[in-house]
């Protein structure tokens, strides 16, 4: 579900957010139009809009835990967690988290990768939000949902700044709703 489909149609903040994202063609490989959010982070007003919109949505949903996917989920997750008084849990590439972890495999275009979470981070029945910068295949978010559910949390929603248009409507990932702010920026809208 996109923000424009859920009460924010015409909200100028969404255009500002979209305008602040830079497209890098053919990164990391030919054919991929990479959505670079680092230019959004260079615009303190637009960055704050992202956080404000997510905080407004989640502050009354009794979310006790925000899980952010390494590494760009680490940029958006903590400000949201801080504003709504929730814990922040980093979901990381293998070998980075100390102590006991659980891990979940997910598919890449070629081969697999793994995502890890600390076993001690989650108590049973916590209400969780998963955050990442962008959703494409949904593989990473699905792995994140699996990790949190295995630890006993209830995933309330997944939230991303950018999402492919296929996630319009009541699209769900592993039965969980998905909330997205903007569609990918197109090449003729490059901003610097």
């Amino acid at each position: 579900m996109f923000a424009v489909e859920n009460g924010l149609l015409g909200d100028p903040r969404l255009q500002a957010i979209s305008d602040a994202i830079r497209v890098i063609p053919h990164f990391p490989k030919t054919g991929i139009m990479f959505q670079d959010i680092t230019t959004l982070l260079l615009d303190p007003v637009a960055f704050k809009h992202v956080v404000d919109i997510f905080v407004d949505r989640y502050k009354h949903m009794n979310i006790s835990l925000v899980a952010g996917v390494e590494a760009r989920g680490f940029i958006f997750g903590p400000p949201i967690a801080l504003a709504i008084g929730a814990k922040f849990i980093p979901l990381r590439k293998p070998g980075k988290l100390p102590g006991r972890v659980i891990s979940e495999e997910y598919e890449l275009e070629y081969g697999n990768d793994r995502l890890e979470m600390s076993t001690e981070a989650v108590k049973s029945h916590e209400r969780a939000l998963v955050i990442d910068d962008l959703v494409a295949t949904g593989g990473t978010l699905s792995a994140s949902i699996n990790l949190l559910e295995r630890a006993g949390a209830e995933v309330v929603e997944c939230a991303c700044v950018v999402g492919l248009p296929k996630f319009k409507g009541h699209c769900k990932l592993k039965g969980k709703p998905l909330y997205v702010l903007v569609e990918p920026t197109q090449l003729d809208e490059i901003t610097f």
Partner: protein, 183 residues
């Protein structure tokens, strides 16, 4: 005031008690300072950010540079609160646009830190943020990157310092602000 531990503030002890020390990670002999347990305590996490924001909000900082990946946890909340840009300093090949890099030494071999061209401009006043300072190698590389594009590095900010490794001496004369020492 520069390079001072925030000794008097009662919030510091609450943060210190939330840091988990994990022995022999990532290898034998290292007492790993795990800040993820601070993030599990919303008050301790908020106090950490508040302490830095209180220090920097009136210093005209225009850019906060955070070192991948744990600097991404602390840098953006500080940047948002003080109205500064946030610039991620990343491992090689992660940033999609044109980059500049600075090499730094590891125990065995070297690594590189990259920054996007155009993200930081001459005259920007910069704060560098990471979770911990050990030898200072990564922070020194960050300072060099920022200075190469003409920014002024005002200070480095870390939650934890390992003072025995003397990283403070390797910051090209820049001051360090840290909250918790581990000896």
């Amino acid at each position: 005031m520069s390079g001072n531990k925030e000794e008097e503030d009662p919030r510091i002890n609450g943060i210190k008690t939330r840091i988990r020390v994990v022995p022999d990670f990532p290898k034998k002999g290292i007492m790993f300072q795990d800040i993820t347990t601070v993030l599990l305590d919303p008050k301790a996490f908020k106090d950490t950010i508040d302490l830095f924001v209180e220090r920097y909000r009136n210093k005209n900082i225009s850019v906060v540079a955070g070192i991948e990946a744990r600097g991404f946890l602390f840098g953006p909340p500080i940047a948002l609160a003080i109205g500064a840009k946030f610039v991620p300093l990343r491992k090689p090949k992660k940033l999609p646009g044109e980059t500049i890099f600075e090499e730094y030494e590891l125990e065995y071999g070297n690594d590189r830190l990259e920054m996007h061209v155009g993200a930081v401009e001459a005259g920007d006043r910069a704060l560098v943020v990471d979770d911990l300072i050990a030898t200072g190698g990564t922070l020194c590389a960050a300072i060099k990157l920022l200075e190469r594009v003409g920014a002024e590095v005002v200070e480095c900010a870390c939650v934890i310092e390992l003072p025995e490794l003397q990283g403070r001496q390797r910051l090209k004369g820049k001051p360090l602000c840290m909250l918790v020492e581990y000896r």
